[in-house]
């Protein structure tokens, strides 16, 4: 138990220090890398909480997907390092930390003044007749018994995995069961949110077509710059293409190929 607490303290201190480093780094790339380190520490804290699936999601989605997306955008934009911490305006550099500190004090006050105080790790709320221990590292797997064979005889693990009845299952199976039963509709809506976000991101970040027709695709000579993609109607490429097509309408196939190849 003491070992668990020591591990937690080490992880929490590392996460806090790297988070502080994240907001004080000049270069956004360094900030992103420190953010990855914070996320890994938080994943380990999820493991301490007994939430293995969330730890995996933390590593995969946050450290693997979101931060990589950040890094790709930085690579595309070639972000220059911003003004340092101390060259900012007065309000930003002085008042900002003060506001955050006031918020932190509020949170700590609420934490220590309510029933979550550090009194032996018990919930002192008298209404809670369960008197459940505030066991952050709860051993639910000993009681989280999920019958792996339901009435139809289908086993969760399929055949050959070695699951038998009343086997204790881990966090992932229980959370999956919860997501597909209690939270089915929110789950579907979440998938819809992801779809909308993907489409929206494409629509927003797409280079608009009017900007693009100008520079590099303009043919410098007649017959150059013809691409197989359909050019915009009215653009020089389209006019050129129409002229070529008209002139080759009566020609033989070989001639047409030669002309188009030019």
């Amino acid at each position: 138990m003491v070992l668990e607490q020591i591990i937690f303290i080490v992880l929490a201190v590392l996460a806090t220090l790297s988070a502080i480093g994240m907001i004080s780094m000049k270069d956004p790339v360094h900030s992103a890398l420190l953010l990855v380190f914070t996320f890994f520490n938080l994943a380990a804290i999820y493991l301490l909480l007994g939430a293995e699936f969330l730890a995996a999601v933390q590593v995969l989605v946050y450290a693997g997907a979101i931060v990589v997306l950040f890094l790709f955008v930085m690579m595309l934009l070639q972000v220059r390092p911003g003004p340092s911490f101390y060259k900012l305006r007065f309000f930003q550099s002085r008042i900002g930390p003060v506001v955050a500190l006031v918020f932190l004090v509020e949170v700590l006050l609420v934490t220590f003044s309510t029933s979550f105080a550090l009194n032996g790790g018990k919930i002192t709320d008298s209404n809670n007749t369960q008197a459940a221990q505030v066991a952050a590292s709860v051993r639910y797997s000993t009681e989280g018994v999920v019958p792996t064979a339901d009435a139809t005889g289908n086993t969760i693990g399929g055949s050959g995995i070695g699951l038998h009845e009343n086997v204790t299952t881990g966090h992932s199976a229980l959370l999956g069961k919860e997501l597909y039963s209690t939270f089915l509709y929110p789950f579907e809506i979440a998938s819809l949110i992801l779809l909308i976000a993907a489409i929206g991101a494409i629509v927003i970040a797409r280079r608009s077509l009017e900007h693009d027709t100008g520079d590099e695709n303009t043919p410098t000579e007649v017959g150059r710059g013809i691409s197989l993609a359909a050019p915009l109607p009215g653009s020089p490429q389209a006019i050129e293409m129409e002229r070529l097509i008209k002139s080759t309408r009566n020609a033989k196939d070989e001639d047409r190929r030669v002309i188009l190849k030019k």
Partner: protein, 103 residues
């Protein structure tokens, strides 16, 4: 056995750091990262609460974390797309220089 207050303290500290980052930094990308950090802090406290109020098996907090992660991913995608198209127009990711609506 780790008391739930420890998790809450860690959550509050990380949330405050993220909040300070949003207030201090002017780079839009770093502001986004700080928002992600704040969401993570809230996730930690959600799971800690789910473990502490354990009446039987309670996975509501964990499921909520899944949804928060989903929304964070969607938000990151859309926000970064906005940043990309914004930087094409103004060639800057400085939040102080993006003031088109001011005039």
């Amino acid at each position: 056995m780790i008391p739930v207050a420890w998790y809450l303290i860690l959550s509050g500290v990380l949330f405050s750091i993220g909040m300070a980052g949003v207030l201090i930094r002017r780079n839009v990308l770093v502001i986004f990262m700080c928002v992600e950090l704040m969401m993570n802090a809230v996730n930690i406290s959600l799971v800690a609460f789910a473990r502490s109020f354990k009446t039987g098996l309670n996975f509501t907090g964990d499921a909520f974390v899944i949804f928060v992660v989903t929304v964070a991913a969607a938000e990151a995608a859309v926000g970064l797309a906005i940043i990309v198209s914004l930087s094409r127009q103004s060639d800057s990711v400085d939040a102080d220089q993006i003031d088109l609506l001011k005039e």
